[in-house]
C-alpha cells in the first residue's frame, strides 16, 4: 500500500485497515435491496453532480478529483489513538463534507468506492450501489445534517465547530452500520436474530466511531489553524477584516 515499506508488515497493516473499513461484498443482500439502494445512490449522485457545481463551480472535476485522491490516501494513514491499543484509520465522510461541502463529499466518496470496487475488488460490483448508499450517502447526509444543526446552536467559535464536527463524525459511523443492519434484516440472505447483529455491530462500531471522531476533529482542527478559508463548514467563522483607524503622526514629526 501507499505509505510504509512493502513486505510482511504492510500486508498485516492492510489486514488491520480492512477490519474497520468494511465494504459490503457481492451476495450479502438480496436483489431487491441491492437494486433499491443502488437506485437511491444513483439518483443522489446525479443530484450531487449538479449541486457540486454550486460549491465548486467549473473547478468541480479537478478539485473533487484531488480531494478524492486525498481521501484515498488518508484512508491508508494509521492514526495512533490515545488510550487505545489499536490505531485508527479514517473513513472520511464527515471530514470531507466539513472540508469541501456535502455534495462534493458525496462525489468524492462515490469515486473512492468505485475505484476500490473496480481496481481493488474491495466491495462487490453488484453491491456498489449499497456501498455508495451507506458510505457516500447516508454517512454524509446524517453526519453533515447533524453538523449543520449543531453549528446553528453552538457558539460560533473554533471550539463550537470542532465539537459539532466530532459529534457528527461519531454519529455517522453507527448510523451507517445500523442502517446496514436494517438492510440486512430486510434483504439479508440469512435469517439471523436482529438483536445479535445489532449488539455485535454496535459494540465494534462504537469503538470505530470514537477513532473516527478523534481523527476527524484533529484533522479539521489542523486545517482550521492554517487555512480556515478552506474549511467549508466553518464559513460562519470567517469575518471581514474591519477597517482599522491608525492615526499617523504629522509628517513633520518624522524628523
Amino acid at each position: 500500500m501507499l505509505p510504509g515499506p512493502p513486505g510482511r508488515e504492510s500486508l498485516l497493516q492492510t489486514v488491520c485497515n480492512k477490519v474497520d473499513d468494511v465494504h459490503v461484498p457481492d451476495g450479502f443482500l438480496d436483489v431487491p435491496t441491492s437494486v433499491a439502494t443502488g437506485a437511491l445512490a444513483a439518483g443522489t449522485v446525479a443530484l450531487a453532480l449538479r449541486k457540486a457545481r454550486t460549491e465548486l463551480d467549473d473547478r468541480t472535476a479537478p478539485l473533487a478529483g484531488l480531494t478524492a485522491a486525498f481521501v484515498f490516501a488518508g484512508q491508508m494513514m494509521n492514526f495512533p489513538l490515545p488510550g487505545l491499543p489499536v490505531s485508527g484509520h479514517l473513513i472520511g465522510a464527515v471530514l470531507t463534507a466539513v472540508l469541501v461541502g456535502p455534495w462534493t463529499a458525496v462525489l468524492c466518496m462515490t469515486v473512492v468506492l468505485l475505484v476500490q470496487a473496480v481496481l481493488f475488488a474491495d466491495g462487490g460490483l453488484t453491491a456498489l450501489g449499497t456501498n455508495v448508499f451507506l458510505m457516500a450517502l447516508l454517512a454524509v447526509v446524517v453526519g453533515y445534517g447533524l453538523f449543520r444543526g449543531l453549528v446553528a446552536v453552538l457558539p460560533r467559535t473554533r471550539a463550537g465547530v470542532l465539537t459539532a464536527t466530532g459529534i457528527a463524525a461519531f454519529a455517522s459511523v453507527p448510523a451507517a452500520a445500523l442502517t446496514f443492519v436494517g438492510l440486512f434484516e430486510v434483504g439479508g440472505t440469512v435469517d439471523v436474530p436482529l438483536g445479535t447483529v445489532v449488539a455485535a455491530m454496535a459494540g465494534v462500531h462504537a469503538l470505530i466511531a470514537i477513532g473516527e471522531a478523534a481523527i476527524t476533529v484533529a484533522v479539521v482542527g489542523a486545517v482550521l489553524a492554517v487555512r480556515p478559508d478552506l474549511v467549508h463548514g466553518a464559513a460562519g467563522l470567517r469575518r471581514g477584516v474591519e477597517l482599522q483607524r491608525r492615526p499617523t503622526e504629522p509628517a513633520g514629526a518624522l524628523r
Binding site: 453532480l49 473533487a64 478524492a68 469515486v111 473496480v118 440469512v190
Partner: protein, 260 residues
C-alpha cells in the same frame, strides 16, 4: 517520481498480451458484472449450491489462467475478504433454524449454508474482479466506464483521482520520511496531533494542487469537457469471448436449477 506514473493503482495491472488483455475494457466490465450477478443469484439453500460454486470457481480460474494472472496475485486479492470470514464463521452459531451436528458442535443448518454461501459468493466475485483489474489499465477502465455511459462529470473526477492518487500518495510518503527523520514515534495524544497535522497539510496541498491543475487546464483551453477519440467498433467475436465467463456461469446455474 522515480516509480514512474501511477504507482499503487497501476501496480494492480499485470502487463501482458493475452486474449483477456486485448479485450475492450467495457466488454470486460460487463462480463465481470454479469458473472457477479449470476453468482449472486444462486440460491444459497439449494442442495446443489456447493457444486455450482465449484463450477463458477472452475470458470473464473480458467479465465485467470487464460489471462496469465498467477495464483499468488489471486490469493493476495482475497485479503479484502478477511472481516467477512469472521462473520461467515460466526453465522452457523447465531442463525436460527434446525440444528445439525458438525464436529460435535450444534450449529444452525441454514446458518451453515448461508455462511458458506456468503463466503463462496464474495470470493468468486473478488476473483473475477481481480482478473479484471490485473488485465486492464486504470486509464482503459475509465474509458470502459465512459463507454458504459457513466456521466462525463463523474468520469472526469475519476480520471483526476486516478491520475493524482499517486502524486498525493507520494506526498504523504515524503511527509512520513520527514516526520520519522525528525524522530517521530507514533503513539499517544501527541502522535495523534502530529498525524492530524500531516493529514491537514496533505488536504491543503491536494486542494491547492487541484486549483493549480484547473488553472493549467484553463490555459490549455479546457471547456469542461475532455476530448475523447472516436469509440472503436467492437467485433461481435470480442463480445463472444468476453461473455464466455458469465455464460459458462449461467450454464452452471441453469443446470443446477433444472436438476434441483
Amino acid at each position: 517520481m522515480g516509480a514512474g506514473h501511477g504507482g499503487t493503482l497501476v501496480a494492480r495491472y499485470v502487463p501482458g498480451s493475452s486474449a483477456v488483455h486485448r479485450l475492450e475494457p467495457h466488454l470486460k466490465l460487463v462480463s465481470v458484472l454479469a458473472f457477479a450477478v449470476v453468482v449472486v443469484s444462486t440460491p444459497v439453500h439449494a442442495p446443489w449450491a456447493p457444486v455450482a460454486y465449484g463450477g463458477y470457481l472452475l470458470a473464473v480460474l480458467t479465465a485467470a489462467a487464460v489471462a496469465g494472472v498467477g495464483p499468488g496475485r489471486l490469493a493476495r486479492s482475497l485479503v479484502v475478504e478477511v472481516p467477512f470470514v469472521a462473520f461467515a464463521v460466526l453465522l452457523p452459531f447465531v442463525a436460527r433454524g434446525p440444528q445439525v451436528e458438525v464436529l460435535g458442535l450444534s450449529v444452525s443448518q441454514t446458518g451453515l449454508a448461508a455462511g458458506g454461501g456468503l463466503l463462496a459468493k464474495a470470493t468468486l466475485s473478488i476473483l473475477a474482479a481481480t482478473v479484471l483489474s490485473a488485465t486492464t489499465e486504470p486509464r482503459a477502465l475509465l474509458r470502459g466506464l465512459e463507454r458504459l455511459r457513466l456521466p462525463q462529470a463523474l468520469v472526469q473526477i475519476l480520471m483526476f483521482m486516478i491520475r493524482y492518487a499517486d502524486v498525493v500518495g507520494g506526498e504523504l510518503q515524503r511527509m512520513r520520511v520527514a516526520r520519522e527523520s525528525r524522530g517521530f514515534r507514533s503513539g499517544g495524544l501527541r502522535g495523534l496531533r502530529v498525524m492530524a497535522a500531516t493529514a491537514g497539510a496533505l488536504f491543503i496541498r491536494s486542494y491547492e494542487r487541484g486549483e493549480r491543475v484547473h488553472l493549467a487546464m484553463l490555459s490549455r483551453g479546457y471547456t469542461g469537457r475532455l476530448p475523447t477519440g472516436p469509440a472503436a467498433v467492437v467485433d461481435p467475436r470480442a463480445w463472444a469471448v468476453a461473455l464466455t465467463l458469465p455464460l459458462a456461469a449461467a450454464a452452471v446455474l441453469l443446470a443446477g436449477m433444472l436438476s434441483g
